[in-house]
């Protein structure tokens, strides 16, 4: 009987079939990993939210209010989003992550310090960062402003245009492995078990508060730290998922069921900070597991803003590219930098000088 199996082996129709060459392997991998890892499905958070609304409508729960819903529904959204986070595409070491932030922010200009000449605009902008995948080459940044919408003041003169393209001689591999520099190498050191991760984040938030002499709400500071990491575009899929699960452990979460940022629909998650002026809100797509962006929401009236209005907002995208555009390299200001104090946040702990071109 063994002869039969041996004879079959000699008759293998796949004998001599060529395997894929490197180019084909790379092309196939790019095609495969460029697709979402988890297919779109009805999000569990929607079921939870619908159930909560049904209970309220039947008079069995708190009065039905348009927003917000606190805690359980928000935690459901975070968990659902965490489960659906797509895997990262396969990145080559020579490539760059192109992280794009597209948003609107308040821009003020006062050419001569005369209050009568001061103007304020809502300024559209696109900030771009090219982050070396392997961390051994310098990163590049740029920020360009677009349409300005006058909010206050005479509106003239317009603020001067600046060249915001820049790079520095330090690479990610030169930077200390601390929260202030959320490099891939540092983020890879964080625990991914949600309880351990939230403990590490709380410890860092407490240290930041102590260093800043600002004993604010620790939960809010922790949420803010998570938000900063998520919107930095530096967290990989596994860490993004872990950060979202960790966020679900925070108390007093608030869910905004239907928000739109820069034309993109999602759900907003923030911490309930009644009485505070503003709060940052993460905007998520639970169905596709995406961190879409963030909004700075007004919680107490100040200036021209009323409660519920959005002070500023932005959305994020991240993609792999093979090179930094030559136009950016030609235009960028180059800095030579050194780390003065690795325990300080980047803007304070790093000293930089413009380098000769």
């Amino acid at each position: 009987m063994t002869d039969l199996i041996d004879r079959l082996r000699q008759s293998d129709p796949a004998e001599g079939v060529a395997t894929y060459d490197e180019l084909t392997v790379r092309r196939n991998l790019n095609a495969l990993t460029g697709t979402p890892r988890v297919t779109r499905r009805a999000p569990r958070w929607a079921l939870a939210a619908a159930a909560a609304l049904a209970v309220a409508a039947l008079g069995l729960g708190p009065a039905l209010a348009p927003t917000p819903m606190v805690n359980s529904a928000a935690a459901e959204v975070l968990t659902a989003t965490a489960e659906a986070v797509p895997a990262d595409p396969v990145a080559g070491p020579h490539q760059y992550w192109k992280i794009t932030e597209q948003g609107v922010e308040v821009l003020g200009y006062n050419p001569d310090d005369d209050p009568a000449h001061a103007s304020t605009w809502d300024a559209e902008y696109v900030a771009t960062e090219y982050v070396s995948v392997d961390g051994t080459r310098p990163n590049w940044q740029d920020k360009k402003f677009g349409e300005l919408t006058l909010v206050e003041g005479p509106g003239s003169p317009l603020p001067p245009e600046h060249n915001n393209a820049r790079t520095m001689d330090l690479t990610d591999s030169n930077l200390p492995k601390v929260f202030a520099y959320p490099t891939a190498a540092f983020l890879a050191t964080l625990p991914q078990e949600p309880t351990a991760l939230i403990a590490a984040l709380r410890a860092e938030a407490a240290a930041e508060q102590e260093q800043a002499g600002n004993p604010a709400d620790l939960d809010a500071a922790t949420f803010d730290l998570i938000r900063r990491i998520l919107v930095s575009g530096r967290a990989d899929a596994a860490l993004t998922s872990a950060l979202l699960r960790s966020t679900a452990q925070l108390p007093n979460l608030v869910l905004d069921e239907d928000v739109t940022v820069r034309g993109v629909s999602g759900v907003g998650i923030r911490l309930d900070r009644s009485g505070e002026g503003t709060a940052w809100e993460l905007v998520l797509d639970p169905a596709d597991g995406q961190v879409l962006g963030q909004r700075h929401v007004v919680l107490a009236p100040f200036g021209r803003w009323q409660v519920g209005e959005v002070h500023s907002e932005s959305i994020f995208t991240r993609e792999l590219v093979d090179a930094v555009p030559q136009e950016l390299q030609d235009r960028a200001l180059r800095f030579t930098c050194h780390i003065e104090d690795p325990t300080e946040i980047a803007e304070l702990g790093m000293l930089c000088e413009a380098a000769e071109r």
């Binding site: 079959l8 008759s11 796949a14 079939v17 392997v25 196939n28 991998l29 890892r37 990989d236």
Partner: protein, 170 residues
């Protein structure tokens, strides 16, 4: 697979390690023209369900390929039959040997489950335990059916090689 974290790097290692085996599996069952599609479907499933990929991964990949072929049997049937026919009936201008190995004809004449057991044993070199996983049946059942499949194949092969073997005695 050296890393246990199921991320893109893990998937790339998975693909590099096993795409050739899955490609051969597919060529053996649907022919070279459709094999690339099967490979793509199998690894797309693995990518969508990274956490579900078994360890070791190859039986899981074969099982996924098996399911894929079953679920797409109707869509594939015509192409598979065409591939079989092209195998059996080389084009007149086709170079190379025109005689097909009689064992492949034997596989075509066996009940599909028997033929698949022999393919997985001979070509994928799987153990009865792994075959049971791929086909979703009990290992004991595999051993029983495999024994029967070998006997049937042996008989058919003898008939093919010597038609007089099966002639009714006059």
């Amino acid at each position: 697979m050296r890393t246990t974290r199921r991320d893109a790097a893990w998937f790339e290692a998975l693909y590099r390690a096993h795409h050739a085996a899955v490609l051969r599996y597919a060529v053996r069952r649907v022919g070279p023209d459709d094999a690339d599609d099967v490979v793509a479907e199998v690894f797309a499933t693995a990518w969508r369900r990274l956490a579900a990929v078994g360890e070791p991964p190859l039986p899981w990949l074969y099982r996924t390929a098996h399911h894929h072929l079953l679920h797409h049997q109707r869509a594939h049937a015509q192409r598979v039959r065409l591939a079989v026919r092209l195998h059996a009936e080389p084009r007149p201008d086709a170079p190379g040997p025109a005689v097909r190995d009689p064992l492949l004809d034997v596989l075509d004449r066996l009940p599909p489950d028997d033929a698949e057991l022999l393919r997985l044993t001979a070509w994928e070199d799987l153990t009865p335990t792994d075959i049971a996983y791929v086909l979703g049946i009990a290992p004991g059942t595999v051993r029983t059916r495999l024994h029967r499949a070998r006997q049937r194949a042996q008989t058919l092969l003898a008939e093919t090689l010597d038609p007089a073997f099966c002639e009714e005695p006059s």
